[in-house]
Structures are given as structure tokens and as C-alpha cells.
């Protein structure tokens, strides 16, 4: 469960990207964060996943108040989130399997077990056959699926994505939507910031609409 109260993020220079946002996302829900460009979607995603820290307000995830956490505790909290970015943030100096292995290495899993789980995650997104490929050799859709495999390999309780279909053609975008839906079906909380109306049409998720940093719906 994610519960935000009066969440505000003010950047140096005075820009308030998120203002007094209060909302609640129950465990296992699929929630879309929508709004025009600059509405604060990306900032809210970063706040939820603890990449950014709020200026004020509180954010409680699974009973834990993230705003009260010490900086040194944040890495361990971040492991409960699976993050997918619009630009994927894949590492091009290693192959697909090694990209997916990274979160497991961070978690300190023994290598053999980590490889087994990484391959299972690649299989889940249909990329097992390309485990040795460098991400640069993958198509945009495949890169996004690889990013999803990396996000879910640590079995997160919350899958958070920022415009995961923003750069994809319709067919690749549909494949990505289906993958997210699969994770939602098995109980993972899915939070997606997107412009893409297809999500709403296909899955009728809960919607959190932002306008100039404020939650309006």
C-alpha cells in the first residue's frame, strides 16, 4: 500500500513540481499517473520510488514512512521497487543477461542463483534467446522489455514505470502493456506515468491525474 499526504517537491530555484499531493494506492492495484507534459508525473514517480526526496509531506509504502528514513536506509527500500524508465537506462558495456543480473548482484545473491533468476526474468519478457546480445543490438521494444526484466528480477512489490511506451510503435507498446498487465494479475502493484490512453482503454486502471503538480483526480 502506498499512501501520500501533502507530498510536495520543490527544486532548487523554486519550481514546485508536485504540490500537496495526497493519494492512496492499495496493494495489487494498477494505477496510471496522467497529465500534460510538465504536470509532475516523472517527479511523482521519482518520489514514490525514493529516487527523489520530498520537500515536505509524507509518503508511506507498505507501512514504512519513507520520508523519515535515513539516507543510508534508502538503497534497501529501493530494492522493493522495480523501476522502468522511458530511456530504459540500460548498460551498453555488457550483455542483456548481465544487465538483468545487476539488481541481483546488488542484493548479494549467489551467482548461480542470480543467473537462474535473471534467465527466468528474460524468459518472462521473451528475451531469453537474446541473453548474450548487447542491448544496443536490440530493438526499442526489446530494450524496453529488457528494462522490465531488470525491474522485476528482484521480485519487487511495486513496479513503477515512467512513460514505458513513450518511444515505441503501437505493436511494441501493446506487448509492453501486456507484460505489465501480467505482473498486475499476479498481485504486483503497478504504477505507471504515461500519456498513452491505450492503457485506460485496455485495462481500466485507477487514474491519478496531475495538473501543474496538483492531483486533480
Amino acid at each position: 500500500m502506498i499512501e501520500a499526504s501533502n507530498l510536495t517537491k520543490r527544486y532548487p530555484g523554486g519550481l514546485e513540481a508536485v504540490k500537496d499531493a495526497s493519494f492512496r494506492i492499495d496493494g495489487g492495484q494498477m494505477v496510471l499517473i496522467t497529465g500534460h507534459s510538465g504536470a509532475g508525473k516523472t517527479t511523482l514517480v521519482k518520489l514514490i520510488s525514493t529516487i527523489e526526496r520530498p520537500t515536505s509531506g509524507s509518503l508511506v509504502v507498505n507501512g514504512q514512512n519513507l520520508t523519515a528514513l535515513r539516507r543510508s536506509a534508502l538503497p534497501h527500500v529501493r530494492r522493493h521497487f522495480g523501476l522502468v524508465f522511458q530511456d530504459q537506462k540500460l548498460l551498453f558495456d555488457r550483455n542483456a543477461l548481465d544487465n538483468v543480473l545487476l539488481p541481483l548482484q546488488i542484493a548479494g545473491l549467489p551467482h548461480r542463483e542470480a543467473v537462474r533468476r535473471a534467465q527466468a526474468a528474460l524468459d518472462k519478457v521473451g528475451l531469453l534467446a537474446r541473453e548474450k546480445a548487447n542491448p544496443i543490438a536490440l530493438s526499442g521494444g526489446e530494450q524496453q522489455r529488457l528494462a522490465i526484466a531488470r525491474a522485476v528480477v528482484n521480485r519487487p512489490t511495486v513496479l513503477v514505470a515512467d512513460e514505458p511506451t513513450g518511444n515505441l510503435d503501437a505493436e511494441s507498446a501493446t506487448a509492453i502493456l501486456d507484460i505489465f498487465a501480467d505482473f498486475h494479475r499476479v498481485g504486483v502493484t503497478v504504477v505507471v506515468a504515461t500519456h498513452d490512453q491505450t492503457w485506460i482503454e485496455r485495462y481500466h486502471p485507477n487514474v491519478l491525474r496531475l495538473d501543474h503538480g496538483r492531483v486533480v483526480q
Binding site: 529501493r78 530494492r79 545473491l109
Partner: protein
């Protein structure tokens, strides 16, 4: 515990891979570190050898004990007992008759000695102390001077003190030089790691976002710095050994010309390990400083 070990193993393996990934850069860095450590290390070994040479030179470490002319054989035996009890080292008794014979044998002394009404020379002991530190020699000299029937104790302490002062000065200069080169080594590692952090910025950014702790991110850089420093230390030890081997022949010939024998002491396994450990520490220190500064921009 297993996770902790596994992460350290992975960080070490990554550090090795990074060392091997750019062999030319690694080689050049090792050369710089190796040479920076070689100069003070060679100086240290050279001073050590010089100290041995000084301490082993004939006469330097000897104490001459002259007894009074009235001393009897019983008195000489008493002195011998005291030397034994004091564990003074090795000694040799020179009876007054033997001393006179030696004097007679010296060129131009036979007639002078013959003209003497009686033997003016006393019985003597030549002591070669075990502990040749100047302070220890001085203490022993004072102790012996207080023994019964001892008329005079001679120690060339001024020479020993001058030599020791020279060695102390040499060591101080060496430490200053070592400090400068150590700072250079830290700077080399600092820069290498800074470039690595820049090259790995994408990985660091992603790792932070998916839950990597500071330790996880810093560890490979620390291992890299320490490994590079340790390898530089080993290279320095190799260069010192090679230089000593090259010098061994000429030094031996020089010693032979002065009627002695002297072999340069090579650094032992412990000294080599010490040099590698020092290199590793300085490398780690450079990495620590560099990573702390470079990673701030990811916070």
C-alpha cells in the same frame, strides 16, 4: 555473510577486469607507481646495507679494556668473569707480554722497546659487543670503567656517533622523499579512479536507482586502487632486487680492495610483502579520496 563475501568477490573480480581492460594504461600507471616506490625503497635498503657495513668494519664496534700495571692474573680472571656475566659479546685477552712482543715487531720499535727497563704495557681485553648501538656501547664503556683494576677503557664512540648521525640524517631525508612519492602515488590513483568514475557514471547512476548501497558502488574502486598499488609495490620490489644484484659484484670488489668482504643484503620476503602492502594502502587511500569526491555528484 555469504552475500557480503559474494559481493566482495564480485568487486575484486570487477577490479581485476578493469585492470586488464586497458593494459597500456594499467602498465603506465604501474610503472609510475613502481618507480615512485622504488626510489625510497632502494634508499632504505642502501642505508640498511651502509649501517651493516659501518657496524661490521674492523675496530668500529670494539671496546679496548686496559688493566692497571699492578693487575694480577687473578684480576684478569675476575674481569673475564664479569664480561661473561654481562653477556658482553666476544672478547680476547691480550697479555702484556704478547702486547710487548707485538710492539717489538713493529717497524722501528725494537730498539726503543729494548731500551725500556721493564714492560710498560698492561694486560688488555679486546671486547666485541653484541649490541653495537652507540648508546649501548657507551653504557658498556662506563660499566667496564668502574670494574676493579681497570685503568682505561677505550671506545671510538665519536666515530660511531658520527656514523649513526649520518644514518639518521639519511633516514630522515629518505622519509621526506618517501612522503613526497607517497603523495604522488595517491595522486596517480586519485586521477585514475576519477576517470573510471566518469567512465562508469551510467552504471553508477543505474545502480543507485535500483538499490545499490554506497559500499557496493565504492568497493570495486577501492579494490582497483589497492590492487594497482600492490602491483606497483611488487614492481618496485623487483626493481630494487634487480638493482642490488647489479651492484653486488662491484660492491664486493670494492670491499675486497679494502681488505674486507661485504655482500649487499637483499630485501626479504617480509620487506617485499611490506612494500606491496604499503602500495596497496596508498592505492586504497587515493581511491577513497577520489571516490568520495567524485560520487558527490550522484547524490
Amino acid at each position: 555473510m555469504n552475500a557480503w563475501l559474494s559481493q566482495h568477490r564480485a568487486a575484486l573480480a570487477l577490479a581485476f577486469r578493469r585492470l586488464l581492460a586497458s593494459p597500456l594504461n594499467t602498465l603506465l600507471s604501474l610503472l609510475v607507481i613502481g618507480i615512485a616506490l622504488t626510489l625510497p625503497a632502494f634508499g632504505y635498503v642502501a642505508l640498511d646495507n651502509l649501517r651493516d657495513l659501518g657496524r661490521n668494519a674492523t675496530g668500529v664496534q670494539q671496546i679496548s679494556l686496559f688493566m692497571s700495571l699492578e693487575a694480577s692474573k687473578k684480576d684478569a680472571a675476575e674481569i673475564e668473569n664479569r664480561l661473561r656475566a654481562a653477556a658482553a659479546g666476544q672478547w680476547r685477552f691480550v697479555p702484556r707480554d704478547e702486547a710487548l712482543k707485538r710492539m717489538q715487531a713493529s717497524e722501528g720499535m725494537a730498539e726503543i722497546v729494548a731500551s725500556l727497563p721493564r714492560n710498560p704495557l698492561p694486560d688488555a681485553f679486546i671486547v666485541e659487543p653484541t649490541n653495537t648501538e652507540p648508546e649501548a656501547l657507551e653504557i658498556m664503556r662506563k660499566e667496564i670503567a668502574g670494574w676493579p683494576r681497570v685503568a682505561h677503557v677505550q671506545l671510538d664512540s665519536a666515530w660511531v656517533k658520527r656514523f649513526d648521525a649520518f644514518l639518521r640524517l639519511g633516514k630522515l631525508a629518505l622519509w621526506m622523499l618517501a612522503g613526497l612519492f607517497a603523495a604522488g602515488l595517491v595522486a596517480v590513483t586519485f586521477n585514475t579512479i576519477r576517470l573510471q568514475v566518469m567512465a562508469q557514471s551510467a552504471e553508477i547512476e543505474v545502480a543507485r536507482m535500483i538499490g545499490a548501497t554506497d559500499g557496493f558502488i565504492r568497493r570495486p574502486f577501492y579494490y582497483f586502487g589497492a590492487l594497482q598499488g600492490a602491483l606497483g609495490g611488487l614492481l618496485a620490489a623487483g626493481l630494487v632486487v634487480a638493482a642490488l644484484r647489479l651492484l653486488a659484484g662491484p660492491v664486493g670488489e670494492l670491499a675486497a680492495l679494502y681488505g674486507g668482504s661485504f655482500a649487499l643484503q637483499q630485501p626479504g620476503g617480509l620487506a617485499v610483502a611490506g612494500l606491496a602492502a604499503l602500495g596497496a594502502f596508498l592505492g586504497w587511500l587515493g581511491a577513497q579520496l577520489s571516490v568520495s569526491l567524485s560520487l558527490r555528484r550522484f547524490d
